[in-house]
């Protein structure tokens, strides 16, 4: 079964290090997303696995076959790796019709004509493009081109499918639809998907595993919800989730078992870890991370603030609250609006607040918070 193993892969373009010492394993039938800001090396990684680019160092196995090894001088061409690749701009051949585009790969495999026609028929029906078989790509809309590209990639039944930001050229509505279809396709084709995107929502909703990258290095490789709830560092915490997590810079006042006292510009907190007790020393600089949905607006709230802005979308409302010198983002579910500059209380009664070390950015603990007003504070 196709399992992809990438071991200590490094890719340099001249002096620029695009990917550094990457080691991940992609299990059979997983839907793995390489996620990160532009220039983080995710597309390069995908192109290296598919064979379009050669790594500078390291080894790559697909289905236990060593397809690349810098040390042994092995570099199988893409054609021998038995993979499919979906390009960002679709890369449909402009001089071929839809059906010629789809059957081209099958002709290379020397399928007979009836089988090819049959396969083209099945795929175009599945992707709802059967009425465009005789058209040229320039005569199709973006969404239709996208489907043709998918059909062309799927035609030879590749065991592994690579996709490089395939939805980024579509409009928002079509993107939603295609996401759902990609997820269905993943189930129906029973193959392994490796997907590149910079859209964290796409990564969250589609994947079984996310590989979050930054500047050529893996930051975290885990299931989407694990990353959401337990980001391994500040970068992951900030990159995943929309609206972004709230960050409050704090310093440790004192620490005792089950309790850490923290102080910010104008608030005092008591942090009680639900995870193992971290090693923190008094005076250490830390960052508190609060997901917007865990910041509650309530009359009883112990922190006082004013509404800075309210953005109701119907399903939920994103509210920014000004407390002292800091702005906190909160998400309130249901169609509610808030008067700008109105008064509100803020309550922090969840147990998923995260404590990061400021200098290393590492996640050191998860726990509950109690807020104590400071003398002369808000």
């Amino acid at each position: 079964m196709p399992e992809i193993r990438i071991e200590n892969v490094t890719k340099k373009f001249g002096k620029f290090v695009a990917v550094e010492n990457l080691t991940i394993t992609i299990k059979d039938k997983w839907f793995v997303t390489l996620l990160g800001p532009s220039g983080c090396g995710k597309t390069t990684t995908l192109r290296m696995i598919s064979g379009l680019e050669s790594p500078t160092e390291g080894k790559i196995y697909i289905d236990d076959v060593l397809v690349f090894s810098a040390a042994e001088g092995i570099d199988l061409p893409p054609a021998k790796r038995d993979v499919g690749f979906l390009f960002q701009n679709y890369a449909l051949w402009p001089h071929m019709t839809v059906s010629q585009n789809i059957s081209f790969g099958l002709e290379n495999l020397k399928w007979n004509r009836t089988d090819i026609d049959c396969r083209v028929q099945d795929l175009t029906e599945l992707l709802k493009i059967d009425e465009f078989l005789g058209r040229y790509p320039a005569e199709l809309s973006g969404g239709q081109q996208q489907r043709v590209a998918i059909a062309r990639t799927l035609a030879p039944r590749p065991k592994v499918l690579f996709m490089d930001e395939p939805l980024s050229n579509l409009d928002a509505k079509l993107r939603m639809e295609m996401r759902a279809e990609l997820k269905r396709l993943h189930r129906e084709t029973n193959s392994t998907f490796v997907y590149v995107t910079h859209d964290q929502l796409e990564a969250m909703t589609l994947s079984s595993r996310i590989c979050l990258m930054k500047e050529g290095r893996v930051q975290q490789y885990a299931a989407p919800l694990d990353i959401y709830n337990g980001p391994s560092n500040l970068f992951c915490a900030e990159f995943v989730g929309n609206p972004t997590m709230n960050f409050i810079e704090v310093a440790c006042l004192q620490t005792e078992p089950g309790r850490i006292s923290l102080t910010s510009d104008d608030l005092n907190f008591t942090f009680a870890p639900v995870s193992p007790q971290p090693k923190v020393t008094a005076g250490q600089n830390l960052v508190l991370g609060l997901r917007p949905e865990s910041v509650l607006l309530s009359e009883k709230g112990s922190i006082h603030g004013t509404i800075y802005s309210a953005l109701p979308s119907g399903m939920e409302t994103t509210v920014m609250v000004k407390t002292g010198n800091s702005l906190l983002t909160s998400v309130v579910f249901g169609g509610q609006d808030f008067p700008v500059d109105g008064w509100t209380g803020v309550e922090l009664n969840h147990d998923n607040y995260i404590l990061f070390d400021k200098s290393s950015g590492e996640n050191i603990a998860t726990g509950t918070l109690t807020v104590a007003l400071r003398e002369g504070g808000v």
Partner: protein, 595 residues
């Protein structure tokens, strides 16, 4: 709204004024001369009175048509040269596309070395006058048919057969090499902009290297290749100097040499008719090109991550091939120039004895025993007159054509899609398809007498300026259209909102932003007219001679040393100027290919 206001409103917009003015002028300078030449094919000219009995000059006659197409000598006067022309153009296309396209592929798609050097060297034959290579060929391969043998025979002692020295074979080779850079620029541009993902997608689907080239790359560059074929074909068809130099010794005639003979001789009626035939062929080519471009499959290249092009590894051939390519390029660019330089210092060409070297042809005061006592070119006042005329002419043409091209670009882009804009677009491109010599013939016929407000211009400097401007307008207007089109209309509209006048918008905003494109619109006409021969050769008189026509005359007289010195001179001026402008502004005709 009443019609007067309508008209006033129309002319309040500068682009409309420009449009109407330019169309009027171009109709006068391009379309009306066409009618004039048709008319001339039906008239008796004074030098033909002997043959067309019982007529006076100006009478209506079908004599020319009958004798060209169905006369006793039709085969020699017309059909054989026509056949030669078509065959030469066809083979030239083949050579140009194969070498130009092959080099473009090597530079854009493989890891060949010295790409930058290859690219700039390869462009040289196109910047140099086309007869540079023809003269170099003669220097190397001429046989005893025309005096002293060429360098090849001098060094090896092997006699060269006529077919190798003169006529069809060398003409196609030389023209093919001259137009190869043209194919290189066009095809290379497409290859460079072509989305590499298109080829990678095929690679992933297990397509072999050759099948990718055959099924993906070639079909996608095919439209560009067809355009190149058509443009090279029409250029090769109108080439005059190369067949004149290489064909004359064996009486190998093509349409242009026939045109020159008949118009300069006693049968201008034949000449005008031959010119008309060439114009018709040129027009058919333009129409074919437009039909091919407007097809259903759109080849618009989607811009992808082309920076990711994975280059074909030449592996063990890399160094060998790179060196071979480099050597070959030096052979067709630098070696000819060196041969010109060396020969211009030799009293009798081909002898390398010390006493055979002289600076006579550069600095001498003229010795009565050598070449009629003509002084060396650096002391020869006729050369300076020719040089001054060439430079003056090229500067004027470049200024006029460049400005007109910019205005064409402005009004065509502004009024994009309207019928008037399309007409102007086509009209300004039309001179490209008129073979230079035929175009010269037209102006000869049109402006030999007073026409409307334009006095008789024959023999004047103005007619050279006029014809050069119109002939090179296509280059300038392409550059102008590109410049304005890339800019987009918002930039100008932002200034319109502030009430900035049209003149200021052009001078302060549009031209500075697009100065590289704008400058190349001025540069191309300059370089082209510096090295132009066939356009001017029918129109110059002793007082308006330019360097190229003097070169042609020296060559006809067999004064090779002078000819060699002049050609070296022209090449240096043109190449240096191109380099300087390129350095200073980034504008250049070889822009866009080869990093």
């Amino acid at each position: 709204m009443n019609p007067i206001h309508c008209v006033k409103g129309f002319f309040r917009k500068p682009e409309n004024v420009i449009l109407v003015c330019l169309i009027t002028i171009l109709v006068y300078l391009i379309l009306i001369p066409l009618f004039s030449i048709v008319n001339d094919t039906f008239r008796v000219h004074s030098s033909e009175l002997m043959r067309i009995k019982g007529t006076v000059a100006g009478d209506f006659t079908t004599y020319h048509w009958k004798s060209i197409f169905a006369g006793k000598y039709s085969k020699n006067i017309f059909y054989q040269p026509l056949f030669n022309t078509l065959l030469i153009s066809l083979i030239t296309c083949f050579i140009a596309i194969c070498t130009g396209g092959g080099f473009a592929w090597l530079v854009t798609r493989t890891d060949i070395r010295y790409k930058k050097v290859i690219s700039s060297l390869f462009i040289l034959p196109y910047i140099m006058p086309s007869w540079t290579l023809a003269m170099a060929w003669l220097n190397f391969f001429k046989n005893e048919r025309v005096g002293a043998p060429g360098l090849f025979t001098v060094f090896t002692g092997i006699q060269i057969a006529d077919w190798f020295s003169y006529g069809f074979f060398p003409i196609t080779i030389v023209l093919g090499l001259h137009y190869a850079p043209f194919a290189y620029i066009l095809i290379g541009g497409i290859l460079r902009n072509m989305d590499a993902n298109l080829e990678e997608a095929a690679q992933i689907l297990k397509t072999g290297r050759w099948r990718i080239i055959r099924k993906i790359t070639l079909p996608i560059v095919l439209p560009a290749m067809l355009s190149t074929v058509l443009l090279v074909f029409s250029s090769a068809m109108s080439a005059f100097a190369v067949p004149a130099f290489l064909g004359t010794p064996v009486r190998f005639q093509v349409l242009t040499t026939q045109l020159f003979r008949t118009l300069n001789g006693t049968s201008p009626g034949y000449g005008y008719l031959i010119a008309l035939v060439m114009i018709v062929i040129g027009t058919i080519i333009l129409l074919t090109n437009q039909m091919l471009i407007g097809k259903r499959k759109s080849f618009a290249t989607v811009t992808g991550k082309s920076s990711n092009i994975s280059l074909v590894r030449l592996k063990k051939f890399r160094t060998v091939l790179s060196l071979a390519v480099l050597l070959w390029l030096l052979l067709i660019t630098i070696v000819p120039l060196i041969s010109f330089a060396v020969q211009s210092f030799q009293i009798s060409s081909g002898s390398f004895k010390a006493d055979n070297f002289t600076t006579l042809f550069w600095l001498g005061e003229g010795r009565p025993d050598v070449l009629s006592g003509e002084p060396g070119i650096l002391r020869n006042k006729y050369i300076y007159v020719g040089l001054w005329n060439s430079v003056r002419l090229s500067v004027l043409i470049s200024l006029l054509a460049g400005t007109a091209g910019l205005l064409v670009g402005y009004s065509v882009v502004k009024k994009r899609g309207s019928r008037w804009a399309n007409s102007l677009d086509r009209l300004s491109f039309f001179p490209y398809l008129l073979p230079s010599m035929a175009f010269g013939a037209i102006y000869l016929s049109m402006f030999a007498v007073r026409r409307g407000f334009i006095p008789s211009l024959y023999g004047s400097f103005a007619i050279l300026v006029l014809i050069g401007t119109v002939k090179y307008l296509p280059f300038a207007s392409r550059a102008g259209i590109n410049a304005i089109f890339q800019l987009g209309k918002e930039i100008e509209e932002a200034a319109v909102i502030f009430g900035v006048s049209w003149w200021k918008r052009m001078v302060k905003i549009i031209i500075p932003i697009q100065r590289a494109s704008v400058l190349s619109g001025f540069l191309l006409p300059f370089i082209s007219s510096m090295r132009e021969l066939s356009l001017f050769i029918l129109l110059v008189t002793p007082s308006t001679r330019v360097l190229t026509t003097m070169l042609f005359q020296y060559n006809e007289k067999g004064w090779d040393q002078y000819a060699n010195a002049i050609i070296l001179f022209i090449v240096l001026v043109v190449v240096l100027l191109n380099a300087v402008v390129n350095k200073v502004t980034g504008a250049s005709i070889d822009k866009g290919i080869g990093d």
